[in-house]
Structure formats: C-alpha cells, structure tokens
C-alpha cells in the first residue's frame, strides 16, 4: 500500500498560511495513496500560479509548464506514455482564462487526464486581479468598479463541450475532495475537478465561510442521477445561494482518445523501438514510392 508520506518532498510550500491550496494538496495525496499509486506512476502537470506550484511540493513526476498550457503538455505526455496517470493541476486563470481553448478541446477529445482546477475566483500569484470565475461585481485592481463580465461556469461549459466526467468539490472538505479526485482518477477519459479554493489573501469575498454556507453534495440529494446530461446542465447552472458539489455528471464507456489512436495499440509509444527491425526494408519501399 502506498501512503501519503510517499509523496513527501523536503520543500516547504510557499503558500500563504490558510490557503486553500493546502487542502487540495493534501486531498490529492490522500487520493493517490487511497488508490495505491506510487510517485513514479503519476505525472503532475501544472501551469503558472500559486496552485500550480503543487508539483514542486509533491514527490511524483512533475512538469511545471507555462501559464495556461498544462493541458497540451499533459496530452503529449499521455500520448507518449499512457501508463502514467496524468493529473493536470492549475488555477482558474490558468485553466479557464488563458488556457480556455485547450480546456475545450481536451474535453471533446476525451483524453484520459484528470484536470484539477484550483478555483479561487482570483489571480493569486499576480496579486489579486479578477479571474474568469470571479462573480459579476467583484472588485479587484483590474476591475476597480466591479467585474462587468458574467463569470465562466466551468461545469456548464464542460457539459457543453462533451466532458465525460464533471465534478466540483471544496478545499475545505478534505474527505469529499479526496473522494472526488479518486473518482476522477478512476474515470476513463477526461475528468474535471473544479476545486473551490479560498484565497485568504486576495479574495475576501469567497472565503471558507462563504463556501461552507453554500456548498452541498449532489451525492446527498436523493435521486440525483449524474448520468443525465440535461439534469446535470440544470445542476451546473446553480450558483449563488446554493452551490452543488460532487460528481455532477459522469458517462462511462465512451472511448478515450488513447483508445482510438492506432499507433498506441502496440503498447506504450515510449517503449517502442526507436526504429523497428524491419524498418530498413520499409525504408526502401518508402523511397521507391518516389521513384
């Protein structure tokens, strides 16, 4: 059995005391240990932001990429070595802002990657500008009169874009978050985990209390059927007094991207011989096609 301690590295996080990123960090490690995954079997891919530093603090394969680009980097890694459990972990600005296009296309691809968004409704690392998930009216240095855009609704978008697993959890509820991440890892195909994450320094509106007063678990709702896309869409539109968490939508059995790539049927791309033994022959045929 692996243990959360297996993921320990002697580097102290630079997050502010009380930051929701600690919760996400702990939940991820709990989930990995819970699934008996070892550090070398996992690859974290992050972008840039407070939360994106997570791989630096966690013993596992990691790639801290550039702002907004973890999804394509993760996709390349996964296609080259689909034995790795690839987990993207990045902020709301990273994932839904600058990285929005990759978000869209990863979902319709159904690439088997867990996508954890540290959703603090703010830009943390750049010191407090409004983010795509900031609510209308939210005052920051780049929205001094209050944000005048409607917030991105990640769950609704995910449903529209064809995601096969759509979930939300809360950094203040470690168990539920770890649980949700476990489900996401177990899901075959793209899995979104929108993790509500208080930023204690710059977001004085969406605090632990604010979230706590609002979140509820769809799992606790009798009869909620996460396989019904229309119901899930209605659920996804809820935001305000009540904020649904849990697995909002999951459809199983859809082929992953990896399942469908011919070259990946032979096994891991990275384990294939760099040139096949019969390549010399093939090469003559290749050249002959030009003669």
């Amino acid at each position: 059995m692996s243990d959360v301690k297996d993921f320990f590295v002697p580097v102290r996080p630079t997050w502010c005391v009380g930051c929701g990123d600690y919760g996400i960090w702990n939940a991820v490690k709990m989930a990995l240990a819970g699934l008996d995954l070892k550090p070398y079997q996992v690859m974290f891919v992050s972008g840039i932001g407070c939360g994106s530093k997570l791989p630096d603090y966690t013993r596992a394969n990691g790639y801290l990429s550039i702002h907004g680009r973890p999804m394509p980097v993760a996709t390349g890694i996964r296609l080259a070595n689909h034995s790795l459990r690839v987990i993207a972990v990045h902020g709301d600005g990273d994932g839904y802002g600058i990285g929005g296009n990759h978000f869209l296309h990863a979902m319709r691809r159904n690439i088997d990657i867990v996508d954890i968004i540290q959703d603090n409704q703010i830009y943390g690392l750049t010191k407090g500008q409004y983010s795509p998930t900031s609510d209308r009216g939210f005052v920051t240095t780049t929205s001094p009169e209050g944000a005048i855009e409607a917030a991105v609704n990640p769950l609704a978008l995910a449903l529209a874009a064809g995601a096969t697993f759509v979930s939300r959890s809360f950094a203040g509820d470690l168990k539920h978050l770890a649980d949700t991440i476990m489900k996401a890892i177990n899901h075959r195909g793209y899995a979104l985990v929108d993790a509500l994450q208080p930023c204690v320094t710059f977001n004085r509106v969406n605090t632990y209390d604010w979230y706590r007063q609002r979140v509820y678990k769809v799992e606790d709702e009798t009869g909620y059927d996460p396989t019904d896309r229309m119901k899930a869409f209605a659920k996804a539109l809820e935001w305000g007094e009540r904020i649904p968490t849990g697995v909002i939508y999951q459809v199983e059995g859809k082929p992953t991207y990896e399942d469908q790539v011919p070259a990946m049927r032979a096994g891991l791309l990275v384990k294939q011989p760099i040139v096949s033994p019969r390549f010399a022959e093939e090469f003559e045929a290749l050249k002959d096609a030009f003669v």
């Binding site: 790639y63 680009r69 050249k287």
Partner: protein
C-alpha cells in the same frame, strides 16, 4: 535539335490538376533516366485563378528552376497570356483551340502553336473535365517524342488507388492526345526528350525528404496545426502513422502543437511540431519552455512571405533573425537550414540527434520553395545506414536502479549536459519546471544557483558549436565573386555559379546549413579568402549578411535580394550581379 535539355510550363486554374500533372510528368521523365526539377506556383485560393508548374529536364543533376520555357502547356487562355512573352523563338504553345489563343501573335515571334482539342479528346474518351491535364501530358509526350510507356507507368501508379477503370480511362486519354499530336504535328517541334540510361531516381520535395529523415530518425510524435507550406509534413506523417507506429495530432492551434510535442519529448519519445512563420510566432513562448526545461523537441518552420499572413502560398527567407532570437531570455537552441532535398533528409535525422544530445529545441528552417519544389535525386542519397541515432545521455534502467541519492535532473556538469532519465522509473522521479530551478528541478531564486544554471545551459552551446559543420563551398577555388547563401537558395546559386564558371568567370558560393550556434570560425575561413562577397537572399534586408557581421565582423560587398514571393532563379541572380563584378 536540342535533346534532353528543356523547360516546360503547365499553366491553368487551381483545381485543374496543374501541380499533380506536373509532378507526374517529372516522375515520368525521371523514370527515363533524366534529371528533373519541378516548381509549383500557386495562389492562395482553391479553385480558379492562375497556377503553373515549371519543369526542367536534363541529363545533368538540376538544382533549380529557371530559364525560358520551351513548351507551354496551357489549360486556359490566361496561361497563354501570362507566359507567352517568356517563350523563346522555336518554343511552342500547346493549347486547346476552344480557347481564344492568338496564334498570329505566337507565329510572329517564331513560337509554334500546337492547338490540340484536349477537351474534346477527353470527352470522346468518356472522361471528365478534371482529366484535361492527362490529355495535355499525352500531347506533350507526343510533341517531344518522349517514351510513352514512362508516362503510362506513372498514370498507372497515380490512379491505381482509384481503380483500374480510372487508370484505363486516363491511359486512353493520354494515348489519344499523343496520337493526335503525332499525326497532326509530326515532328515539327525541335525540342526532344528521350530516355537515357541511369539509376532509378526519386522525385521528391523538401517536406517529403525531411519526413523520410524524421522516419529514419525514429520520430514517434508529430503535432501540427495546418499552415502552408508546412501542412504536407503532418499530412505525410499522418498518412503513414498507423503503419509506422507514430502518433500524429492535428491540434486546436500551434501553441497546443508545440506543447504536445514538448510533453511527448519530455516523456521520452522523439517528437516534433511543424509549422510556418505565423504558427511559429505562436510557439515562441513554449520554445523557451523547452529551453528552460531542457526538453528535446524538433520544430520545422517552413517560411513564407510575411509580415503576417503575407503571401500564403509563396516563398521567402524572412524569418532567420526571428528564429534565432525568438522567446524571452537566453537559452541554447539549434538551427539548421537545409538547402537541398538531400540536406532536408539529413536535417530530419540530425535535428533529432542534436535536440536529444543537447536536450534543447532544434529548429529546421525551410521555405515554400524548398518545401514544395521537386527534384530527381539518387536513392543512395538517402542512406539509412548513415542515419545513426544518438539519443544523447539517457540513463538506462540499470543506471537508475544503481543510483544512490536523489536523481539530479539538472546536475551541473562540465559540458552543461545533464543525464536525462525518462519518467516512469521509480528512481527517476523529479519535476521539470519553467521557473529557474536547482539541480533536482525544484524552484529556486538563489542568485548563485541561478547564475550557475544559466551558465550550465549556455555551456551546451560550446560543444554544439564545435559540431556545427562548416559551410559548403562550391565553385572556383580562386573566385573573384563569392556568393553567400543559406537554406533554399543553394540550388539557384549553384547553377548561377556553374554558368559563371563555364563562361570563364571565377565564382563560388559559401552556403550555410548549420546556422546556430553560429560556427563563426568555420564561416570566416572560406570568406576570408573571398575577394568580393555577394549576399544572396530571398528577403528584404539581407539577414544572413547581418548575422555574419554580428558574429564575424565581415561585411559583404553587395547583396542580391528578392522579396516578391517568387524563388530566386539562376537567371535572376546573373541579371542582378552588382556592377563591380558584372
């Protein structure tokens, strides 16, 4: 009677198969042992407009297009109007009398008119309008007296996928046109072609040659977003992906393309992204990511005229200084600029070796001219046994097993190269990071580590510079004129040098393929003996001349620059020689 030395132009609308029939004719000529060079010229539109294809055929290796067309195969009226001025006396125009061609105009200039009812021949044979180009091929074969069996064999190969009926129909059409011409014009056309003995040669363009190199190098991952003139790379690889166990990905944009390639490179496979200048512009940020994380990745940039969208289907060498300095900050990169299809093949192999040896991005820069022009070349020129694969310093599983202490991915070493471990091994667990980092890969802000890490990375350039090859010098050793060139202009310049030397002048050329790290001393050597240096480039500002001065202090004496989107030809170069050396 000029034998086996002539130039054709096939001209017509986009959608009339001008390019495919030009390429097919080239192949037919090569099958007869002739050397060929074929250059497509097309517009950024899918149907209509005026496209044309130039073919040169000869008995010596050909490196360029150029020279007046002896035979114009005109599929439209416009084709005649566009090209007739270039045809020399004794040349001919093959056209469909359906089109209002002014035969008088031609005759007045000693140009032969060969009206051939192409449309009717096709129709009578039961073909569709798209087959008129086949008729034109047959007719040209007839006029030049060339061996029809060669043309027939190409028709068979090209249409086999579509079924024997289509093959037969096309053969019938070609034959009918040929017969028509033989009967109608007998041997009134002076220019003749006939097979000679020679080895079977490939007829191949730069993109295809590069792909063969990449396949030989074991490239396993190709990501791209379509962009002329690079698109045929991802298309070529995609068509063969299943067979060769390659993953190809048409991505949502170029940022994703290069990031996926970087991810795949990081995971341990040979990976590349192909694009043109506009797409490369979008890859600039991630280029630095690969530099910082020391991830091997190959990027092919097939240039086209800018700025911005520019001339989407034409050629230019306008991106050199951009590629060399692209992305914020300083980090090592490799830049290769092949100039011939052989060099494209070779670059396909070397780029992957260099990228992995130095754990850094390697950029192959070509352009629309090189990417799309086809040339006959010996099969032996693409030698697989010379394609040695060097993956650089990668720790084996055994080495990793034996590791004690943490794996230091970015270990400070004398060469700057730190042994790589492929993720997935229990001892190879580490994070790569785009922030400055310490030897283990952890983010750091310490000034001392930062300084040493910059130096470690940049040190890789030293060994790389050593293995960058000297420019190729071609021509008269005692030259009065030395041309300086890089990339695709090699061919036209080589032919210009030959013309000059044959005419009693003394000329040579110094051509760089290995551009970065700039092999300064190796470039100085041939140039320091030069009496008069003429920089020849397909751009406005003479970027290689600037680079040369920056790194060696050498100032060229003159420049021949062209930036109208059309490839430099030997004729153009000769016509634009500076007064001092005219």
């Amino acid at each position: 009677m000029p034998l086996n030395d002539m130039t054709f132009i096939i001209g017509g609308e986009a959608g009339q198969g001008v390019e495919s029939s030009g390429a097919g004719f080239c192949k037919a000529l090569a099958r007869g042992g002739l050397h060929v060079f074929g250059l497509p010229d097309y517009r950024s539109r899918i149907r209509g407009g005026h496209n044309f294809f130039q073919i040169r055929a000869g008995t010596r290796p050909l490196y360029s297009h150029g020279g007046p067309p002896h035979l114009l195969m005109a599929l439209t009226e416009e084709a005649v109007l566009r090209h007739r001025e270039d045809i020399p006396a004794g040349g001919g125009v093959l056209y469909d009398p359906e089109h209002a061609v002014d035969a008088g105009w031609l005759k007045a200039r000693g140009i032969l008119a060969f009206p051939v009812p192409l449309g009717k021949i096709v129709k009578d044979a039961g073909g569709t309008r798209a087959m008129v180009n086949t008729a034109a091929l047959g007719a040209a074969t007839g006029l030049t007296g060339y061996d029809f069996s060669k043309v027939a064999s190409v028709i068979e190969d090209n249409f086999r996928r579509k079924g024997q009926d289509v093959v037969d129909l096309n053969l019938k059409i070609a034959q009918a046109a040929l017969d028509y011409v033989r009967t109608t014009f007998a041997s009134s056309f002076d220019y003749r072609l006939e097979p000679v003995s020679g080895p079977p040669r490939m007829v191949i363009n730069g993109n295809q040659a590069f792909c063969l190199g990449a396949l030989a190098a074991g490239c396993k991952f190709v990501a791209a977003y379509p962009m002329t003139p690079s698109t045929t790379i991802i298309e070529f690889m995609s068509a063969r992906a299943a067979r060769y166990g390659i993953v190809t990905k048409h991505t949502e944009d170029e940022i994703a393309a290069v990031c996926m390639a970087i991810g795949a490179g990081h995971a341990g496979v040979r990976a590349m992204a192909s694009t043109s200048g506009g797409g490369f512009s979008l890859m600039v940020e991630a280029l630095g990511l690969a530099g910082m994380t020391e991830t091997p990745v190959v990027i092919v940039e097939a240039q086209r005229p800018g700025p911005s969208t520019g001339l989407a289907t034409r050629t230019e060498q306008g991106d050199l200084l951009f590629l060399l300095h692209a992305s914020q900050g300083e980090f090592p990169r490799i830049v290769l600029a092949p100039g011939t299809v052989e060099q494209c093949y070779e670059a396909g192999i070397r780029a992957f070796n260099l990228a992995e040896r130095y754990q850094t991005p390697a950029i192959v820069i070509s352009d629309e001219f090189l990417a799309g022009a086809i040339r006959s070349v010996e099969k032996e020129a693409f030698d697989l046994s010379e394609a040695t694969i060097d993956r650089g310093q990668i720790l084996s599983d055994a080495e990793l097993d034996a590791l004690d202490g943490p794996y230091r991915r970015y270990q400070f070493t004398g060469s700057g190269i730190s042994p790589r471990a492929i993720p997935g091994h229990p001892k190879a667990v580490y994070s790569a990071t785009s922030d400055e980092h310490d030897e283990e890969g952890h983010i750091t802000e310490e000034a001392d580590i930062r300084t040493r890490m910059v130096e470690k990375r940049m040190r890789k350039l030293e060994a790389a510079r050593q293995e960058m090859r000297a420019p190729e010098t071609y021509g008269s050793p005692e030259a009065d004129i030395t041309f300086l060139a890089w990339g695709s202009t090699y061919g036209p310049l080589r032919e210009a040098v030959d013309v000059l030397n044959r005419s009693g002048r003394k000329a040579n050329l110094v051509h760089l393929v290995d551009i970065w790290p700039f092999p300064g001393e190796k470039v100085v050597a041939p140039l320091s003996r030069a009496k008069y240096i003429v920089d020849v480039e397909s751009n406005y500002s003479g970027q290689m001349a600037s680079l040369l001065r920056m790194h060696t202090g050498i100032v060229v004496n003159a420049r021949i620059l062209k930036y109208d989107g059309r490839a430099l030809s030997p004729d153009y170069i000769l016509a634009h020689l500076p007064e001092e050396v005219k």
